[in-house]
């Protein structure tokens, strides 16, 4: 892997935190590199919010409050939150390939950083709006 940084989609981070067995080979390599502190993975604000909502509707069990889950994640300096700013919202609004508000903001985050997005989402991968890893 030649990338030094990437952005994670929600499901990719969840799969990693659940043990990583469902991740695609390149996604798994990216997270492994982050665990070794050889790759920075940015976590968009939309991912934080989506994880909290999925925990709320019991699609995932974080086993601790969402705040503590992300405190644990960000205790590794290779994982860093990426702040949501107005330009990303405007870019997300321009991305007409999806009506999913989270996908649009997550793609906008990766575009803001000019980095690949770790995702298995076929709509994102086929949109050509961002380079993807899986």
């Amino acid at each position: 892997m030649t990338d030094t940084a990437a952005v994670t989609d929600t499901h990719a981070l969840i799969f990693h935190a659940a043990g990583g067995g469902i991740l695609g080979p390149k996604a798994k390599a990216a997270f492994a590199a982050a665990e070794r502190r050889e790759l920075i993975i940015y976590v968009p604000m939309a991912v934080l919010w989506e994880v909290s909502l999925l925990a709320r509707v019991v699609r995932i069990n974080l086993r601790r409050p969402v705040r503590e889950f992300f405190a644990d994640l960000f205790s590794n300096p290779a994982y860093q939150p990426h702040t949501l700013e107005a330009d990303q919202v405007f870019d997300a609004d321009d991305l007409r390939f999806t009506r999913d508000p989270f996908d649009a903001l997550i793609v906008a985050s990766a575009r803001d950083l000019s980095l690949a997005l770790i995702t298995r989402d076929s709509a994102i991968r086929e949109s050509g709006t961002v380079r993807t890893i899986w």
């Binding site: 043990g19 644990d72 590794n76 860093q80 990426h82």
Partner: protein, 90 residues
């Protein structure tokens, strides 16, 4: 100045994410923030294997629709309706 490897990696990430021109500029901003409120370093805690996915939807295929339903309901009611509902609750 010499920084620990983890701290240098974190600083490089912050510099890129906050669009600082240099590590020095990023470090300066961090020191300003620390002086104003403070961020403490903590031991690393891996999240691997620490969460569970609902067995009925292991690939999270239905998760998007669950969350989308929340927003569809919110959007269809409109901001004015939500304010009225909140006012009634208050």
């Amino acid at each position: 100045m010499t920084l620990e490897e983890d701290n240098l990696l974190w600083l490089k990430g912050r510099a890129a994410a906050t669009k600082r021109r240099s590590l020095s500029e990023a470090l300066d901003a961090l020191i300003s923030t620390a002086r104003a409120g403070g961020h403490g370093a903590t031991a690393t805690r891996s999240v691997i294997g620490t969460i569970d996915i609902a067995p009925g939807d292991p690939m999270l295929d239905d998760a998007d629709s669950y969350v989308a339903t929340m927003f569809a309901a919110s959007l269809s009611s409109g901001p004015a309706t939500r304010k009225k509902q909140k006012a009634r609750r208050d």
